[in-house]
Symmetry: C2
Subunit: 145 residues, 2 copies
Amino acid sequence: MRVDVRWKEKMQFKARAEGSGGEIFIDGGGEPGEEVLGPRPMEVMLMSVGGCTGIDILSILRKMRLEFSEFWIEIEAQRASDHPKVFTEITLFYRIKGDNIAPEAMERAIRLSQEKYCSASQSLKAPIRFRYEINGVVYEPQGGR
Amino acid sequence: MRVDVRWKEKMQFKARAEGSGGEIFIDGGGEPGEEVLGPRPMEVMLMSVGGCTGIDILSILRKMRLEFSEFWIEIEAQRASDHPKVFTEITLFYRIKGDNIAPEAMERAIRLSQEKYCSASQSLKAPIRFRYEINGVVYEPQGGR
């Protein structure tokens, strides 16, 4: 797997993946409120975790023949206060809207992603917690993580 | 630090960072050759490493008062063949063009990034190797990594 990340100007970089051809901008600059060309690198790292587990969930729910209308993941991360300011804990909040999604099915999908399939989560050192919401009702994982 | 990653359609997600406001698309679909909305999640993770160390290098070279005209990083990663297919080794190839950049200065900047400042590199489990090129001449790190 290959990507390149090229400096444009200021603290802005354009990144391109050789495999997919997909591109993003990463921007390390910008004062609060100032417009940016893209997210900061550590934000991008969290996004990769969300995309990874999100794609897993789509695939698993599809195999379970469960339909949904909306699906998003909110990710919050704690970081060490000293350099290199690594992630120390990441919490994923899966939120979904659909008519026939039982909490057991959703939790099984999340566990399959986090424990077996999600390359991004498992490539990180930090522990990852999760909870989930179905049609506005919040659930905590059963039986520990 | 907070981001959200929202499913759009097919295997496509739009990710937004609360802090910077920066947005990217992540696309898990697409057959080879088919157009994609954005890179795949694991490509995005590598991009975050490139952006992180790239911003470090910009800052350090600026403090050293070293000028350059072009700067990019090529990143290659090996992954495990079994699920969850984590990164097993990442190699960064720093490439720069500038008139007064000594190999020792460039190597010092890279080491400061990789060993002290780069949050993304240090948040990953996989070992990270590097080499660098200045005005077309390739250097291997001296004295081991």
